[in-house]
């Protein structure tokens, strides 16, 4: 079963503890965080559970159709939005419980002072293809 682990710049439940932006950590703390993320992905590749991981820039816009012959309407950059996606990891695991376990591990990445950041991650199952046997 595939799951999306969604990381947000903003949004989600109230953060746990005081959130210190990364540029205010020490360089060693920044390095430790990045090493943790890298090792986490490497471990999932090792266990055969990693599918994909991508990061998104914070800049962007909402876009919609605005009628025949008119250019699309854009809205953004999102100064106002409450929710901003930072990136994702797709994992292919045996169960929901395993997906939750892994999201928990990812959320324990070290932050300022080397303590886990307790970041909220959104876990969403993928809808699957229609199975061959349906009855």
């Amino acid at each position: 079963m595939k799951y999306l682990l969604l990381k947000h710049y903003r949004g989600g439940p109230a953060p746990v503890g005081d959130w210190v932006p990364m540029d205010r950590w020490t360089p060693a703390e920044v390095d430790a965080h990045m090493r943790y993320m890298r090792d986490f992905a490497a471990r999932l590749e090792e266990s055969g559970e990693f599918v994909d991981g991508q990061a998104l820039a914070p800049e962007g816009a909402f876009v919609r159709y605005d009628g025949e012959g008119r250019p699309p309407v854009t809205d953004g950059p999102f100064a106002e939005t409450k929710d901003l996606i930072a990136g994702w990891m797709i994992i292919d695991v045996e169960s929901w419980d395993r997906a939750v376990e892994l999201a928990g591990e990812l959320s324990a990445a070290p932050g300022a002072g080397g303590a886990p950041i307790h970041e909220w991650l959104e876990v969403r199952p993928f809808l699957t293809e229609l199975p061959t046997v349906t009855d």
Binding site: P21, M22, D23, R24, W25, P27, V30, M34, A57, E59
Partner: protein
């Protein structure tokens, strides 16, 4: 026979099929199939005449495909079924293929893909892996590109400028999948140097070699970006640097300057220095001035401002930067660097953080975040 030697034969084999009357699109497909067959079977027993083998297999594939198409449409076969007797002609159509695959009517991404397949001899699967798209998507991009240039004759001179841009794009893509695109771009540019007599082609090759020489030192553990000033210069490839400088000098001596030669000259000045402090920044600024006369690009102005900061001090660099628009890519990063050198640490820290939010790659973003953290730490101590 190794894969890259096999790949080198691809453009010539396509040329042979086209000379026998095949259209470029079908010839290219047939050669791709022959190439895949060769990769599957040659490891056990490579043929004595690899090019002849590829021509025979590709021609058979082409005939099969054409027959199937002709019978589907109820038409007569338009080409001679029997190839002319005698040895395969020695004419090299490779240069024409470079022009066709990088035709100015093609979008750059399509020109890149088509060049890698028809001139580089890579398989669709390898190209797709290198650009992180599904194989079917890449196959579609290539066949659409071929439809777009269908009917263009292979025997006309093309636009060398777009060919060089395509090769430059491939080089800049670096590695992806199991193919080293930078090395592939160098191979294709080397070949192009042998086929043409243009100093700009040599300039591009020199530029690639001089950057390739620093590759090992550009990344640290875990893919972390190491900026020029912190690179371990003992890890630079002196053989590649020497070759790049020699090629560049010969090109410059012909007195027909172009942007690749000017960029290569800047790379050569970096390659020549033992540290950033010992770098001839005054000459680098002069080369940026030359480059501005040739291209007048805002990106060049930005790089020039940083070089001015090294040559004449950070205040001069900031003054040069002030003439540019702040929404330029990497503007904040350049401003952060110059402000730090000018001793404005608070501003530098803010700008590094801003630059990390505007970064266009993960290694750059992580590097700039680390820089922000480093300057903040200086501020605290």
């Amino acid at each position: 026979m190794n894969e890259s030697l096999l790949r080198e034969l691809v453009p010539a084999v396509i040329g042979v099929l086209v000379r026998r009357g095949a259209d470029f699109a079908s010839a290219e497909d047939a050669v791709q199939e022959a190439m895949i067959r060769a990769l599957e079977t040659w490891s056990d027993e490579p043929p004595r005449d690899p090019k002849g083998w590829l021509v025979t297999v590709a021609w058979r594939r082409f005939l099969d495909a054409t027959r199937a198409e002709a019978s589907r449409r109820g038409r007569e076969l338009a080409v001679e079924v029997e190839p002319p007797a005698g040895p395969v002609p020695a004419t090299d159509d490779t240069l024409r293929l470079y022009f066709l695959c990088a035709h100015p009517t093609l979008p750059p991404g399509s020109a890149v893909a088509l060049t890698l397949r028809a001139v580089g001899g890579l398989t669709t699967r390898q190209i797709a892996a290198a650009y992180l798209v599904p194989e079917a998507t890449m196959a579609q991009r290539i066949s659409r590109a071929k439809r777009r240039i269908a009917g263009l004759p292979l025997d006309q001179p093309g636009d060398l400028g777009t060919v060089l841009r395509v090769l430059y794009l491939v080089f800049n893509e670096g590695y992806g999948g199991d193919v080293d695109l930078a090395a592939e771009a160098i191979r294709l540019t080397r070949h192009l140097v042998a086929l043409t007599d243009e100093p700009e082609v040599a300039g591009l090759l020199a530029l690639m070699l001089l950057h390739h020489a620093r590759r090992a030192s550009r990344t640290g553990p875990g893919g972390r970006l190491v900026p020029l000033a912190e690179q371990d210069r003992s890890r630079w490839d002196t053989g590649l640097i020497a070759e790049g400088v020699t090629i560049l000098q010969a090109a410059l001596a012909r007195d027909r300057l172009g942007e690749y030669q000017a960029q290569a000259a800047i790379a050569a000045l970096h390659a020549d220095a033992r540290s950033t402090a010992e770098t001839d920044w005054v000459q680098i600024v002069e080369w940026y001035d030359e480059l501005l006369l040739l291209t007048d690009s805002p990106v060049v102005r930005l790089n020039r401002a940083v070089a001015v900061g090294e040559a004449d001090g950070p205040r001069a660099g900031l003054a040069a930067l002030a003439e540019l628009k702040p929404d330029l890519p990497r503007y904040a990063a350049a401003a952060a660097y110059l402000h730090e050198r000018a001793g404005h640490l608070e501003q530098a820290a803010e700008l590094y953080a801003e630059a990390s939010r505007a970064a266009m790659s993960v290694p750059e973003r992580d590097h700039l975040t680390r820089e922000a953290a480093r300057v903040r730490q200086l501020l605290r101590s």
